[in-house]
């Protein structure tokens, strides 16, 4: 039942005291004709409504979440405690600089740590999410070329295995997108890359490890090819969880990187956000960063702006409380802990892949990084059971499905990312379920076509939702 179907006229809570000054009213010409139809409920009704909402959700606390490319690791509780301190939540963003020294220190400490992890020289925490970071990074690249008077660079090279946000970010930047094919092993096709590299290329966007779960061993050659043609290299940090403390984007030859604090640095996804998408860059791009930069002198910390800043990416300084959570995480794990996290993320993925490879076809043959892609194509040919059917089958076991139908270069893809925070028992159980589903595909494909069976709803009619959009509650139907 929707919140609008609950409560009764006149019901409500006493949240505010009576107004202690004379009340003002506005003329009819500027007043709304009718009050917004908001709920009128008692506190206990509201409490139950949202408990009901929460019951029909699946969080990382509810069970295994091997959602590829999303890094659904455990979200530590201490992060929530530190981010709730009034010394952060009650600070106005436009307070005098000398009254926000703790916030500035938190920003600076986080920036320094992220620079150390990525091998970059400067960092901004302003972008609110990964895609926002991509847009920011590409604007830095654009500003860099324009500042040198080089205005013909309008192409962004993007591998065909890339996330959809990459080409969309390039388009928002006024660039055309050139798709670079992957070779049969899933690596960037070097010949195709060389052929596309020219003096009209602004840059390359790449994630490494790539979306098939492979570390591209030609990475240095790839970044060299781009630099030789005068372009810059952009690192999509979606898959950073595989390599912290092992290898850094800056050392691979990347000039700009964005990170997802809500993936790699354990901040919760919140059902879709808020995230945080810091952008790091090499020295030659630092002059273009968006605000703010934190600088230190004898008087303390100061907010400054970069000399040739691209401008503001959003109001104020980013999703600050998310940054506090990530800083708490980095402080907890430290240098060794971050490396341990990455190693175990890779170990868990390889462990699962190893146990599943005699039951499912793997898109990559050797050792994978923190995730692996299963190709359900042959199962589908033999039984009619699709990647979607397997995914929906998992729901009946309380396991969140892997990412489906991505990367696009594998047609019936299931992308599995267990993360480092799962126990061996959890992995073993998930492996058993996957194997059971592979068996059922042969024995009872119908059961999977109609899965899930134990969830609060069955498969929704998405076509109907799109063709006859109902996007808000219909009060008239009351």
């Amino acid at each position: 039942m929707l919140v609008f179907e609950k409560g009764a006229p006149g019901r409500g809570m006493q949240i505010l005291p009576k107004c202690d000054v004379e009340t003002v009213s506005f003329g009819e010409d500027v007043s709304r004709a009718e009050a917004p139809r908001l709920p009128e409920m008692s506190e206990s009704e509201v409490s139950r409504h949202y408990s009901d909402i929460a019951r029909r959700c699946h969080g990382v606390n509810d069970g295994f979440y091997p959602l590829g490319s999303c890094t659904m690791k455990y979200n530590p509780r201490i992060n929530e405690v530190t981010a709730s301190l009034p010394g952060f939540t009650e600070i106005h963003p436009l307070q005098p600089e000398n009254t926000v020294q703790g916030c500035l220190k938190a920003i600076k400490d986080t920036e320094d740590a992220l620079c150390a992890i990525t091998g970059m020289d400067a960092m901004t925490l302003q972008p609110a999410a990964g895609a926002h970071g991509e847009f920011t990074g590409l604007l830095l690249i654009k500003a860099y070329h324009e500042a040198r008077g080089d205005k013909k660079r309008t192409k962004i090279l993007v591998p065909d295995s890339a996330h959809g946000t990459n080409p969309a970010s390039a388009a928002m930047n006024g660039c055309s997108v050139v798709s670079i094919p992957s070779d049969e092993d899933g690596y960037v096709d070097l010949d195709a890359l060389r052929a596309a590299a020219g003096d009209d290329v602004a840059g390359l966007m790449l994630t490494n490890p790539n979306t098939v779960g492979l570390f591209d061993k030609n990475i240095k050659e790839i970044t060299n090819i781009i630099h030789e043609c005068g372009g810059l290299c952009y690192y999509d940090g979606a898959n950073l969880n595989a390599i912290m403390g092992v290898v850094r984007p800056g050392d691979m030859g990347f000039d700009v990187v964005h990170l997802n604090l809500h993936k790699t640095f354990s901040t919760p996804h919140g059902g879709g956000g808020p995230g945080s998408g810091p952008v790091g860059c090499k020295e030659k791009l630092a002059q273009f960063l968006p605000s703010i930069l934190v600088e230190e002198d004898a008087d303390g910390l100061h907010m400054t702006k970069a000399a040739d800043s691209i401008g503001e990416m959003k109001n104020f300084y980013g999703n600050f409380l998310v940054v506090i959570k990530a800083l708490t995480y980095i402080a907890s794990l430290g240098a060794e802990g971050l490396k341990e996290a990455s190693q175990n993320a890779v170990l868990n993925a390889n462990y699962m892949m190893h146990k599943l490879k005699s039951h499912y076809t793997m898109a990559c043959k050797g050792i994978c990084m923190h995730e692996f892609v299963m190709d359900i194509g042959d199962i589908k040919d033999a039984t009619g059971v699709s990647a979607m059917d397997i995914a929906k089958g998992l729901l009946d076991y309380g396991i969140h499905p892997p990412t489906m139908y991505f990367p696009l270069i594998v047609h019936e893809a299931l992308m599995v990312e267990p993360t480092e925070t799962e126990t061996r028992e959890t992995l073993d159980h998930a492996v058993d379920v996957f194997i059971e589903l592979a068996e059922r595909a042969k024995s009872d494909p119908e059961a999977l076509h109609s899965a899930p069976h134990n969830t609060v709803i069955g498969r929704p009619d998405e076509v109907k939702a799109a063709r006859q959009p109902v996007l808000k509650y219909d009060f008239a139907a009351e």
Partner: protein, 437 residues
């Protein structure tokens, strides 16, 4: 060292051995040896939970928490009912991913559907998306919705929040959209100038009301000028004001946007906040980001899903209306809980009290020797001017633990009141201001 890796060293070795490897290094065979980090990360050692809690608390203590705030300018301290924190800290809501798997995400999907309904109720618009990052990016995205091949220029009023204008300009640098600022006259948008600037290449006119100075714009007239040249009309507004003031829809807006922070989010040094975006049905398919729709499942039961995804980056890639993927879902949930808890009367009460207190403070400050210079009616923010040095005024307040208004150019100050400010506080402010020479 803190760690969230459950496996013991023995377990890790056993797992390595099971896959035919002997050490963690063996997992990284594809990483060229000369690229590998030789001496580890240049970071401190990890710490226990107790140590980390103390370390971060030290940072928080290095900030000054003002008991009393009379500063808004884009971030507003309202009272946040206890229910809000209680709900948004429920782990199942807080740690869930984007609800792509509808069967196990009905709760989140329903909460977004309820949020969309509430935003439509507040703004009077037909369709709301599931949120964008904040009020600034909402404005930039709104401009992008209006631009097409023939109309590549956006007229933005000088009276919008300055950082919002900056964000619009940054996005426009990417897309190549021309942004022209419509000048202000007496603290409101210069309608005559707008009428001269608007032409057939104008994609949209974007205004904010109450504007940056708190003043209500002549939103009817400005909208008519926009529509007169066939441009879209984008209106940014404070959602609290919509408890009582005329809606963007009533003013004829094609797109309503704004900063959702006042609806239950703490000021939190600038984020996370929430950008709300709602449009007419005609512009529905140009809205960026996620949208939840109602449908039925295979048994005919009511169900909610992410819909109209053909607009989005994961389907359309470079042809998407925006690159947005992660949004501010938990903040949208916050808005839902806030508005449900405050309720129909409660939101109105917040609006009335905020405006009433602002008018009371304005009167008291005039008695104390400042002059209110808004060019028209204001909501809960206003600007004063005087011979008194703003820095001296604000320092005197600061000494009493009060964060005064935001200093603007000259000796102008932008003040804000909300329902949390008491008469006693305001009387005290006036007394302190009066004593500043």
């Amino acid at each position: 060292m803190g760690s969230y890796v459950p496996g013991t060293k023995q377990e890790q070795l056993a797992m390595l051995s099971e896959i035919g490897l002997s050490s963690m290094d063996d997992l990284y065979v594809d990483v060229p040896a000369d690229l590998k980090l030789q001496n580890g990360l240049d970071l401190p050692e990890g710490k226990s939970e107790m140590e980390v809690a103390a370390q971060i608390k030290e940072l928080a203590k290095a900030n000054k928490v003002y008991d009393t705030i009379f500063r808004g300018a884009g971030a507003y301290r309202h009272f946040i009912p206890a229910m809000v924190g209680n709900v948004v800290n429920k782990e199942s809501l807080q740690t869930a991913y984007t609800p792509y798997q509808a069967e196990i995400s009905q709760g989140i999907l329903q909460s977004i559907f309820e949020y969309q309904t509430m935003i439509c109720e507040l703004t009077g618009m037909d369709v709301s998306n599931a949120s964008v990052y904040d009020g600034g990016t909402a404005a930039a995205e709104a401009v992008a919705m209006c631009v097409d091949r023939k109309r590549k220029k956006a007229l933005v009023s000088a009276t919008v929040q300055p950082s919002v204008l900056e964000v619009i300009k940054t996005y426009a640098f990417g897309s190549g959209t021309e942004i022209v600022v419509v000048p202000e006259k007496d603290g409101v948008t210069d309608a005559e100038a707008l009428a001269q600037m608007a032409d057939k290449e104008t994609a949209c006119v974007l205004i904010q009301s109450p504007n940056y100075y708190g003043t209500l714009e002549d939103a009817q007239k400005l909208g008519e000028i926009a529509h007169g040249v066939g441009a879209k009309y984008v209106m940014s507004t404070n959602p609290i004001s919509l408890g009582i003031l005329k809606t963007p829809a009533e003013y004829g807006a094609d797109i309503a946007i704004g900063e959702g922070q006042p609806l239950g989010m703490p000021i939190a040094f600038g984020g996370p906040y929430l950008g709300f975006m709602a449009s007419t049905k005609a512009m529905m398919r140009k809205l960026p980001g996620r949208i939840v729709g109602e449908t039925t499942d295979d048994d005919g039961r009511q169900a909610f899903v992410l819909t109209l995804q053909a607009r989005e980056q994961h389907i359309r890639r470079e042809k998407a209306s925006s690159n947005i993927c992660s949004n501010q879902a938990l903040c949208a949930l916050t808005v839902g809980v806030y508005l449900t808890t405050m309720g129909k009367e409660g939101l109105k009460e917040v609006a009335v009290q905020s405006a009433s207190k602002a008018h009371y403070l304005a009167g008291k400050l005039e008695e104390a020797g400042l002059k209110v210079v808004n060019g028209g009616e204001f909501f809960h923010e206003f600007v004063t001017e005087s011979d008194k040095d703003s820095a001296a005024v604000l320092a005197a307040l600061d000494a009493e633990g009060i964060l005064g208004g935001l200093p603007l150019e000259g000796n102008k100050i932008l003040w804000c009141c909300t329902e949390v400010n008491t008469k006693a506080e305001m009387d005290k402010v006036a007394q302190i201001v009066k004593e500043v020479k």
